[in-house]
């Protein structure tokens, strides 16, 4: 298996736009996943009976094969980026919801009690005490969801999207390995860089965890 370097240099523009498109799809999914998970997690955390239902639902959704999700969405959103993002978002829910609920659970009762006793109202306690303290666990979920989405985008090649995934079908159909290898390397690079950036973001957002006694 040899790499055709001239193919790479001849397709830098395509590779760049595919990479950007790939990343956009993955990040949108994580963004919308968080948007849905945060309020649902707060509900699951506060209303015990709903907790098992919501977590169970996110698990069930995760078991639907990706192609099936896209096929089910076709009548609704067609062969579009929207279909890709909706499909990927559904998969992020399983980690994001679970980690956010567990993050909220991990906030010490004593701390919440102190906030209440100081005269902090529930919404403010959620925003300024519970969510910041849950952040490390939530961020762990965001990292997994991000890496998972970056690797899953390629599946949307079936509906004509798929970012770098298009390189796989292209290379496979022409029996030409270079695009496949480039696609794999770029996907891996994206995942590693995105993960590193999230670690850095968490470091910035949680100053109290940096300085140990």
């Amino acid at each position: 298996m040899t790499i055709d370097w001239s193919w790479i240099s001849g397709h830098t523009d395509d590779l760049t736009s595919l990479t950007v498109s790939h990343l956009q799809a993955a990040l949108s999914a994580v963004f919308f996943g968080l948007l849905i998970s945060l309020p649902l997690a707060v509900v699951a955390h506060r209303v015990r009976p709903l907790r098992g239902f919501l977590l169970g639902l996110s698990n069930v959704l995760f078991t639907i094969p990706s192609i099936a999700i896209f096929v089910l969405l076709l009548p609704v959103s067609g062969l579009t980026r929207t279909t890709t993002v909706i499909g990927l978002t559904v998969y992020t829910l399983v980690v994001l919801l679970r980690n956010t609920v567990e993050g909220l659970d991990s906030v010490p009762a004593k701390t919440k009690e102190a906030a209440k006793a100081m005269g902090t109202r529930p919404l403010r306690t959620l925003l300024t005490v519970e969510l910041p303290l849950a952040l490390p666990v939530i961020m762990a979920g965001v990292r997994i969801a991000t890496v998972m989405s970056i690797s899953l985008v390629s599946v949307a090649t079936y509906i004509g999207d798929g970012g770098l995934g298009q390189l796989f079908t292209d290379g496979f159909q022409r029996d030409f390995p270079t695009p496949v290898i480039v696609g794999v390397v770029l996907t891996l690079l994206l995942a590693v860089v995105a993960d590193a950036l999230l670690v850095a973001l968490q470091y910035v957002l949680t100053p109290w965890r940096r300085r140990r006694a």
């Binding site: 102190a114 100081m118 005269g119 403010r124 005490v129 109290w208 140990r212």
Partner: protein, 343 residues
């Protein structure tokens, strides 16, 4: 300042935590709620700032029924120190202390300035303000907890076993600090503990609770120690309650005279401060006592002294005289007689 009137608290699971409590906690005084675990003392405390709602009866703070006020606003007007400090781990010490002023909308700059001032009040260094709670020792965290409770200058301070999690040496220091602060600030303090010695040390009045949420007796420490209402109170105060009473009386009234010349002589340094008892090459260390020290300390020292005499010193530590074991005993006896007769 705080009035409980026929207050009942029954939890949904059927246990009665507080039973028909009527109690007055006077302004500017320290009321200690004491009793074994499950006696309702913490529930009583938490009903004052509505962390727990009473089942029936009324609680007034400053003449106003607490249940008629917005709970969050009420809590901001009452300082609360929690077991094991309950500090916010993600906020710096300064921001922890500034919590209530910020909630009251005082603005960040003003709130932080006030917090910096309070660091000093509770005996912490200025640079500890920038640290996070986990970087402080248990005792320091407890000080931050007290500073946080004082930040909005509330007239009432609730303290729920605040010194329970620190070692005995630090606990004594924190108790001293609290007494010093209270002399300056004159807050109405409600203090929950299961430690009788702590109650006797800090309380202007002590309320003893029995399992089932019954208030058994509420009295000044000396009255309680001299005249426990029943066997439960007597048992709770312990076999040494007679000695505990002596911890409330000072040595000031016990007569003193010049140190005698005998087998043992009291050796002084150049400044006139007692060093030790000395006899034929043997030396026994001496712990000099000031007028403000307790009769209990004097009794302890006289028992340990080879001559039965204690060395009395002035504020600078210079010897003023000695007192005998007999004189201390006489005064100890009088202290008990007075406490029994006093109303």
């Amino acid at each position: 300042m705080i009035q409980f009137d026929a207050v009942h608290k029954r939890f949904p699971n059927g246990t009665t935590a507080v039973h028909d409590l009527t109690l007055d906690m006077p302004e500017g005084g320290v009321t200690v709620l004491v009793g074994s675990s499950g006696c309702g003392k913490t529930t009583t405390l938490r009903m004052i700032n509505r962390m727990v709602e009473p089942t029936s009866g009324t609680i007034q703070v400053g003449g106003k029924d607490v249940t008629r006020q917005d709970a969050a606003e009420l809590r901001r007007s009452i300082g609360y120190v929690i077991q094991q400090s309950g500090l916010f781990p993600h906020r710096t010490v300064l921001d922890n202390i500034a919590t209530v002023p910020l909630l009251l909308g005082h603005g960040r700059r003003k709130a932080r300035a006030r917090a910096a001032e309070l660091l000093e009040t509770v005996g912490l260094s200025t640079d500890s303000g920038k640290r996070y709670p986990h970087q402080l020792s248990g005792g320091q965290q407890q000080r931050v907890g007290v500073a946080r409770a004082l930040a909005a200058d509330p007239p009432v301070l609730l303290m729920d076993e605040p010194f329970g999690a620190v070692d005995p040496v630090v606990r004594t220091q924190l108790q001293d600090e609290l007494l010093r602060l209270q002399k300056e600030l004159n807050k109405t303090i409600v203090f929950v503990t299961h430690d009788v010695d702590e109650a006797v040390r800090l309380g202007d009045q002590i309320a003893i609770f029995r399992t089932g949420g019954h208030l058994v007796q509420c009295a000044t420490p000396s009255e309680l120690l001299a005249r426990p209402a029943d066997d439960f109170v007597a048992d709770f105060l312990g076999a040494e309650r007679g000695l505990k009473l002596l911890s409330l009386k000072t040595l000031a009234a016990v007569p003193q005279g010049p140190a005698p010349q005998g087998d043992w002589t009291l050796v002084l340094d150049a400044a006139g401060k007692p060093l030790h008892w000395s006899a034929k090459g043997a030396e026994v260390p001496v712990r000099p006592l000031k007028d403000g020290d307790s009769l209990l300390a004097a009794l302890n020292e006289s028992v340990a002294s080879p001559t039965g005499l204690i060395a009395r010193v002035d504020a600078d530590g210079v010897l003023t005289g000695v007192s005998s074991r007999d004189d201390i005993h006489t005064h100890a006896g009088q202290a008990h007689t007075e406490a029994r007769v006093a109303v």
